[in-house]
């Protein structure tokens, strides 16, 4: 019987938008409740794997600029996602490996050098009350996570103190890291209203570059680029929307619907990002360029199957460091 001791992390600086996230609360869309969850699920899952957690343990998701955290007691952590130049007590901390934190240590993250999001996973998970079975924050409706909001200065987070003696430090194999490199081309399958768009629109969509607008958040990413014209201007009945759907309102500019998307929508959907690339959406920053490529569902699922095979303990190797 392991005795758990709850201890604290003091938030000295919260960062731009830092929230508690896990893999979300799917299955409640019929009640109007978005699944929410980590914007880059792949990085969250790998981080949890590195610290010996269940895949869906709650972690900290940081956006564009990370925070500064003071640990009251020992912890095993892992830092995944984009490089926010993490340091422990001022010394550079390696990513994609389990790390020991000692009582009193200061963990600091800066501004991103690469993509939009960085995850800090803690052995045992961040402890927050669960809402509908999940620790995820849905910022738009102020539900879940840490009081339904992003962290603020002087917030106190709870976790369970780790017994460092019993932990074997591990890191992610290099070849796995290589396969996680950033994607500039998001693969997509056909959307339910694809036939509402002109041939020219489909051509523009699948061949030109779009830019992520400033209005990009966990609910959706507005894109600017070639206008996508419809064959006619009829209205659509409100219907359920899937994660990664690319909807096109009247102005012809596509929007990628993301983890906090409203469960229903009334705009036509030209395409849907494939499951295997959803995590890449979570790393897109405003002004990043993105392109789309249509693939078959069979192709999409074979890519997914391969990615899934990488998320297991065989992808970890012990290290001393």
């Amino acid at each position: 019987m392991i005795k758990l001791t709850t201890v604290h992390i003091k938030v000295q600086q919260p960062g731009f938008q830092t929230t508690v996230q896990d893999l979300g609360r799917p299955g409640y869309a019929q009640f109007g409740v978005s699944a929410s969850g980590a914007a880059d699920r792949l990085s969250l899952r790998l981080g949890n794997l590195l610290v010996g957690n269940k895949p869906g343990s709650a972690a900290l998701e940081m956006t564009l600029v990370g925070g500064t955290f003071e640990f009251e007691a020992d912890a095993v952590i892992a830092i995944t996602g984009s490089d926010f130049e993490p340091t422990i007590n001022g010394k550079q901390a390696p990513m994609w490996s389990s790390l020991f934190i000692y009582a009193g240590d200061i963990l600091r993250f800066g501004a991103t050098k690469t993509g939009a999001r960085c995850y800090c996973c803690i052995h045992g998970g961040v402890q927050v009350p669960r809402l509908l079975g999940s620790a995820s924050t849905h910022i738009m409706t102020e539900l879940g996570g840490w009081d339904g909001r992003a962290l603020k200065k002087n917030d106190v987070l709870m976790y369970n103190k780790s017994e460092l003696d019993s932990f074997v430090p591990v890191r992610l194999k290099n070849e796995i890291l290589q396969s996680l490199s950033a994607r500039e081309v998001l693969r997509v399958t056909y959307g339910p209203q694809m036939d509402w768009f002109t041939d020219e629109a489909l051509d523009i969509f699948s061949s030109s570059a779009y830019r992520v607008a400033e209005e990009a958040n966990r609910m959706g990413l507005r894109l600017t680029g070639g206008t996508l014209e419809r064959k006619d201007s009829k209205d659509m009945l409100t219907e359920g929307v899937s994660l990664g759907a690319i909807q096109v309102p009247q102005d012809g500019q596509p929007i990628i619907l993301f983890v906090e998307h409203q469960t229903t929508g009334g705009y036509p959907k030209i395409a849907n990002v494939v499951s295997v690339d959803i995590h890449a959406i979570g790393q897109l920053r405003p002004r990043d360029e993105v392109r789309f490529k249509f693939v078959s569902i069979e192709n999409a699922l074979s890519l997914l199957s391969h990615q899934e095979s990488l998320i297991n303990p065989q992808s970890l190797i012990p290290y001393h460091g």
Partner: protein
């Protein structure tokens, strides 16, 4: 229902993504399509073998999300086609009749005058017409517990606000174009607010976390401000706590 005799396009099955299938019964809002939606949802609920993650009904469609690593898409499609073949035989439970108390007083109804002026009616007429009808809950969506209701009498239809409010208080009853609904939690909103209910429509501590269900028949009943506060107190567990939360500018927390 099987296939419509004149139009064999419906019911239409399309993959909306590599992990979701959209079943569409028609291109219009109708009670008939709604019943087909309900029947399919009932059949899907009873199935445990297809690794279904979410069943999302809407006006005339159902979006079924599933784990494609556990159930191949073709297998799901075949299973749903089989369900559609026997859909007519599915019995829908009797609808529940739910009464929603609404205070239409000025304090809670900043847009009711606009609605009355736009439709050349008195405020009393607007209240009377709005609360005279039995509404069907077509489905829930947009925000937690938000009901898509039909059909609202055309006499009180009013266009949405040109600029949506940053925050609409929880419980607000509103009109948007030819539709009416209730905002269960505070959220941005462009509909015209004509009243407020003291009832909580989103109940995150419960399962299911909502007061209204698809298929319910809802009526609105006008109540006084006093009754509003009394009911709110028992809903929210404290009159004071509720009063603090009333604000059109700030966020109203549950």
């Amino acid at each position: 229902m099987a296939k419509h005799p004149k139009n064999s396009v419906f019911p239409r099955l399309q993959f909306a993504s590599d992990r979701s299938l959209l079943v569409t019964f028609g291109g219009s809002i109708s009670r008939r399509h709604h019943l087909d939606v309900r029947r399919l949802c009932l059949l899907l609920e009873t199935d445990a073998s297809l690794a279904i993650e979410t069943v999302h009904p809407a006006y005339s469609s159902v979006l079924v999300s599933f784990d494609p690593m556990k159930t191949p898409p073709k297998a799901l499609e075949a299973a749903i086609e089989k369900m559609l073949e026997r859909i007519d035989s599915v019995k829908i439970p009797e609808p529940r009749n739910i009464e929603i108390p609404v205070c239409y007083d000025d304090e809670f109804a900043p847009d009711i005058k606009d609605v009355s002026i736009h439709n050349k009616l008195s405020v009393e007429d607007v209240i009377r017409i709005h609360s005279s009808v039995e509404y069907l809950v077509y489905f829930l969506g947009f925000s937690p517990g938000f009901p898509y209701l039909g059909e609202m009498p055309k006499q009180i239809a009013t266009p949405r606000l040109a600029t949506p409010r940053v925050s609409v208080p929880a419980g607000s009853v509103a009109i948007g174009g030819s539709q009416t609904g209730v905002y269960p939690i505070a959220s941005p909103g462009g509909w015209r607010i004509i009243g407020r209910t003291p009832l909580r429509l989103f109940l995150p501590e419960q399962n299911p976390p909502v007061r209204l269900s698809i298929g319910d028949l809802v009526t609105f009943r006008a109540i006084s401000k006093n009754t509003f506060y009394k009911l709110a107190a028992s809903e929210q567990g404290g009159n004071e706590a509720w009063e603090k939360k009333i604000s059109y500018e700030g966020r109203v927390r549950l």
